[in-house]
Subunit: 218 residues, 2 copies
DNA sequence: ATATAGTGTTAGATTAGTCTAACAAAATTC
DNA sequence: GAATTTTGTTAGACTAATCTAACACTATAT
């Protein structure tokens, strides 16, 4: 089986492939906070072990095997996050660091049990989909709030990024998943939005924030 | 902080010191399933980092720092085992392997939360005491069943060993903690015991089994 | 009290994962 | 298209944790 280090490379490759479409050595180096030569030599190893396809100076691409492995680690991560929130009472901003560690635990029964105790949740506490046991993931075709128009009434269903800072910002405005909100106005100068929701008749959100909120028309 | 490997050495030293009183290189080598030279070099490192006191050809002794660290790992292990049984419905024979991994997770909040959700349990699913947050452990002065006399009425409160095989054996006889039992007879030839308990008017337990059952007069 | 068995040590090698320094290739910009 | 910046590679070294082979010390037993 893959070491935690290898698992982290696979996870990073999987995540980066969904942002940019071509993943290179530098991207991984920044994301994993290791030097480029380190990534270079590790990627050669991953290639030999059929986790990725790689040729010198070319982008790095996960193999089918690598993609499945990455999705199953993500499954463990997201099940854990959801369990920590749902069953242990942690806040959505506290669970990432803990799940980063527990995702490497080799004990299928543990994650199956979490899954069952939560009645097979489909998303994690940040609205991201939980891959199934085969590593398949449902594509949520949500829209960014920043792409909506004045007058739109939408429900917040997921976040594109879940940094602690961002989550604490949302907490401070009482913004959580399932929140229904309406776009009152869009400031042409900086694309910030004036929105209204339960107990908050008028809040301003910067474009950066609106870019990270995924919504659906309600 | 200590690596998982170092943590496993400390845990082994702590456990072995409670069985034999002098712990040597060979003991550790067998217990940790690594070669003696490996232990030898690791113990030198542990000595330099003040986890143990060690001089060539002498027994290995945990320092105060090492003993506290070991007890805190044991605390995480036992809290996890209890949580898995109490809150997640695992059997007492399933939890050791999972706890072996989770005990290395660096997330005090996780273990504090388990502790709180279980209302601060004092023992794990096998009756072993859970060290407190300072690494102090209460000494249970239980007696081995094998040391009891015919006619004694006792409660089973803990086990000295918790291998999967042994736990499955106990399950097969419907023997669990808190069970009240009476010693009907002791076979002089092999010291096996004839005992009686709820729904089992007469079961025979070998001396090996009776040695591993810790009881108190009821 | 010496032979033997058990225990401990040294030396040297290996693997995984990391680094820096220096250079090479590719991409971008002027 | 030449210069510059970014990206990638090679070479060489380091640390943690492990191994085997060979030898040394200690304890046990006749």
């Amino acid at each position: 089986m893959a070491s935690p280090t290898v698992e982290n490379y696979l996870k990073a490759l999987y995540a980066l492939a969904n942002e940019d479409d071509e993943v290179n050595i530098s991207d991984l180096s920044i994301h994993l906070k290791v030097s480029k030569p380190t990534v270079n030599s590790m990627v050669k190893t991953l290639n030999q072990q059929d986790w990725v396809n790689y040729e010198r100076y070319k982008p790095i691409v996960l193999t089918r095997k690598g993609r499945k492995a990455a999705a199953l680690i993500l499954r463990k991560h997201r099940l854990t996050e959801m369990y920590l929130v749902e069953k242990m009472g942690f806040g959505w901003e506290e669970v990432h660091e803990i799940a980063e560690q527990i995702e490497h635990v080799k004990a299928p029964a543990l994650f199956d049990r979490m899954d069952k105790l939560m009645d097979f949740p489909k998303v994690d506490p940040h609205g991201s989909p939980i891959p199934d046991k085969d590593g398949n993931i449902i594509d949520q075709n949500y829209k960014k709030l920043s792409e909506c128009k004045v007058g739109d009434q939408v429900v917040l269903l997921a976040l594109t990024h879940s940094s602690k800072d961002f989550l604490e910002f949302l907490d401070s405005r009482e913004i959580s998943l399932k929140l229904e909100l309406e776009i009152k106005a869009i400031e042409p100068f900086d694309s910030s939005m004036l929105i209204s929701y339960y107990n908050h008749p008028s809040e301003t959100l910067s474009q950066k924030v609106c870019d990270r909120l995924l919504v659906q028309k309600s």
